[in-house]
């Protein structure tokens, strides 16, 4: 494209303008992102800071946030190396701590088994829904997803009554089973979507090689759907760990998850914000660890370069 002397400077001006513009826009975007990031991270940062602060520091005005940090809240929650002013308080706190740790155990058990059952059942279901498609199957798949739409409060009363009748109230199995209502939709939907992306021709090639359908599932489908399976397991694990309703209604004190046990730190008599924050930190820490460790599975790029597209 020839540039005559007449429009040379005009072209140059236009180039300069476009070079300037993206930078300004970029700056705006970054600022906006920063604001949003702060808005999201602030509650967590607040919680982290509070957990290392004594009650006195928190309740002062303005809150004394940066001067000194203490571990007394954690010690109190875990009942390690604390001393209280009165014996009754000490025994009360000991009970709360034991309950809290019991809750952690319960949550771990329920989450683990709930996700395990969901995976065992959901992954083959996802395969069936992915490969043998018809209108009925699509309805079925959507039904699975709809479990996520239903507010848990809506189902909890009938579920409570049914559980009482069939004797599942106050059992590990009952809570696990109800919690899989939360995890199965994730497993089925995410895995099915990943399996949809696996070309049918690769399975056909495996059949032509002489592999049985069982071989095809375990040697071809599962490895290729691994990122989807891992992602769905992580997401459903977090969802079940977070669950409050089922543990609150369907479990007896012995079996309640940590989400419920944290409530015991909310007391009319003793609202120690720092201690509550510490309890929350301990309750969420496993989830954070799990998602960090498993994150690399989420980003394992699987290239489909083997099939010419």
């Amino acid at each position: 494209m020839a540039t005559t002397p007449a429009n040379d400077s005009a072209v140059r001006q236009r180039i300069l303008a476009t070079e300037r513009e993206p930078l300004r826009v970029r700056a705006y975007v970054n600022v906006a992102l920063g604001v949003v990031g702060v808005a999201f991270l602030f509650p967590i940062a607040w919680m982290v800071v509070l957990s290392f602060k004594s009650q006195a520091q928190i309740t002062s005005m303005p809150p004394d946030l940066f001067s000194s940090f203490t571990l007394e809240n954690y010690r109190s929650v875990l009942n390690i190396g604390v001393s209280y002013s009165s014996v009754s308080k000490a025994s009360l706190m000991e009970i709360k701590s034991t309950e809290f740790l019991q809750g952690m155990l319960n949550t771990t058990v329920v989450s683990f088994f709930s996700v395990a059952i969901s995976a065992l059942v959901g992954i083959p279901a996802a395969y069936g829904l992915s490969r043998y498609k018809n209108a009925l199957k699509d309805q079925l798949a959507f039904t699975f997803l709809s479990f996520r739409f239903v507010p848990q409060l809506l189902v909890i009363i009938p579920l409570y009554l049914i559980y009482q009748k069939i004797g599942l109230y106050g059992t590990y199995f009952g809570v696990i089973w109800a919690s899989s209502l939360v995890s199965i939709p994730f497993v089925v939907w995410i895995t099915r979507s990943y399996m949809d992306d696996i070309p049918l021709e690769i399975e056909e090639a495996a059949l032509m090689d002489g592999h049985t359908r069982r071989d095809v599932f375990f040697r071809i489908i599962l490895p290729l759907a691994k990122p989807g399976i891992a992602a769905s397991i992580i997401i459903s694990f977090i969802a079940v760990w977070n669950n409050f309703t089922f543990g609150f209604v369907l479990a007896t004190t012995r079996l309640q998850p940590v989400t419920v046990k944290i409530l015991s730190f909310y007391d009319i008599t003793d609202m120690n914000y720092g201690r509550i924050a510490a309890a929350m930190m301990l309750a969420t820490l496993p989830m954070i660890l799990v998602s960090q460790v498993a994150a690399k599975y989420l980003v394992s790029g699987m290239s489909m370069g083997a099939v010419r597209k």
Binding site: E201, I202, L207, M208, A306
Partner: protein
């Protein structure tokens, strides 16, 4: 291991669409059978029916004496090389090749031996530990082939193996296929392509499939020199065959073909065939390389068609002349040592001994006997 593969009256419908209509053919063990046809003809569908990946709507698939209609693909002992290669993306080349052996629970030594042999034959030795996404198209193609060849089988199905490769690699691999042919002694091979040159060079026999029905089954020679109808004649040959509608008239006691602008006197075998067939209107099929050409007015000009050179171009190292006369155009092949000038006159005469005759319905009239070639599959 020597089983004849047979399809009998196979129909395949997808909803209201008919993909295969009454397809029947047999392939002997050790035979290299090529199925050729335009895209959408049903060639891949035929392979899939043979492989067991599709069930026919009606008809019987037999391997030897055994009816295979209800036998799943993994139990058929047939191997397939897919058009899109279909390699396992999460496995190395070595493991891709080993896949059929793993299905048969072969021991480590045998696996290693066979992989070695196939890799050497196909030039894959240095690629064994790579992943499919690190390979070029030609390399993936060879892995796909290797996987299909590594275990002997009743039936080897090759779906357009050379379709998506550039010309040079296609040439190299096509040559490799001749080596592979000798390697495959016992099973039957069915090779699908839309490229008639591949078919003519590799096939023991060719089946021409158009719009789901078989037009002709025969040797490459049969299909090229004795096509059963116009569709086959058009398909096999580049540039496509010239088709001239001609009225057969008698002039001065001799049989002539009235092709519109001119009447060409006929003699010899072709005249006899036309007399025997008592045909009034025929379609003459003249392949571009079977014209006599003259750039100057010949002595017996009444036996030639005069035309003007409308276009001259070089295709595939051959010169192609488009000769125009009134509303008709014909293509002729010529040597390129003398560049014809567009606009100059040219005289064409069909080489009558190479000219094909078709009746108005498009079926070939056999030149030697005059019998209308109405045996549908053109066994001549």
């Amino acid at each position: 291991m020597s089983t004849t593969i047979a399809l009998s009256h196979i129909w395949k419908r997808f909803g209201s669409k008919v993909a295969l209509a009454d397809v029947s053919f047999e392939v002997q063990p050790g035979e290299f059978f090529v199925l050729i046809g335009p895209s959408g003809a049903g060639k891949t569908t035929t392979l899939r029916v043979l492989a067991g990946l599709e069930s026919p709507s009606s008809g019987v698939v037999r391997f030897g004496e055994r009816v295979m209609n209800d036998v799943p693909p993994q139990a058929r002992n047939a191997r397939m090389a897919f058009e899109n290669y279909s390699l396992y993306p999460h496995l190395s080349v070595r493991e891709n090749l080993a896949s059929p052996l793993r299905a048969q629970k072969a021991n480590k030594r045998e696996v290693a031996e066979r992989i070695d042999r196939i890799a050497t034959m196909l030039g894959l030795e240095t690629l064994l530990d790579r992943a499919p996404r690190e390979l070029s198209g030609g390399q993936r193609q060879r892995v796909s082939l290797g996987r299909a060849l590594i275990v002997e089988s009743n039936l080897l199905l090759l779906d357009e193996p050379l379709a998506h490769l550039d010309a040079r690699i296609r040439h190299e691999l096509r040559a490799k296929f001749h080596d592979i042919k000798s390697f495959l002694s016992r099973g039957a091979v069915i090779y699908v392509t839309h490229d008639y040159l591949e078919a003519l060079s590799l096939a023991d026999r060719i089946g021409v499939l158009v719009a789901g029905s078989l037009q002709q089954i025969g040797t490459p020679e049969d299909v090229y020199y004795r096509p059963s109808n116009i569709t086959v004649a058009r398909l096999v040959g580049q540039p496509a065959i010239n088709l001239l509608r001609a009225r057969i008239v008698t002039e001065n006691g001799a049989l002539c073909a009235d092709v519109g602008p001119v009447r060409l006197p006929l003699s010899g075998e072709i005249a006899q065939a036309l007399e025997a067939a008592k045909a009034q209107t025929v379609i003459l099929g003249i392949r571009p390389q079977f014209w006599n050409l003259s750039h100057s007015r010949p002595a017996d000009a009444e036996r030639w068609v005069e035309a003007k050179i409308g276009l001259y171009e070089i295709r595939n190292y051959k010169g192609v002349i488009r000769a125009d006369r009134d509303n008709s155009s014909w293509l002729a092949l010529t040597d390129t040592y003398r560049d014809p000038v567009e606009g100059s006159p040219i005289w064409l005469q069909p080489q009558w001994d190479r000219t094909l005759l078709f009746d108005e319905g498009g079926m070939r009239i056999s030149a030697s006997t005059g019998a209308l070639g109405r045996t549908a599959l053109g066994h001549s």
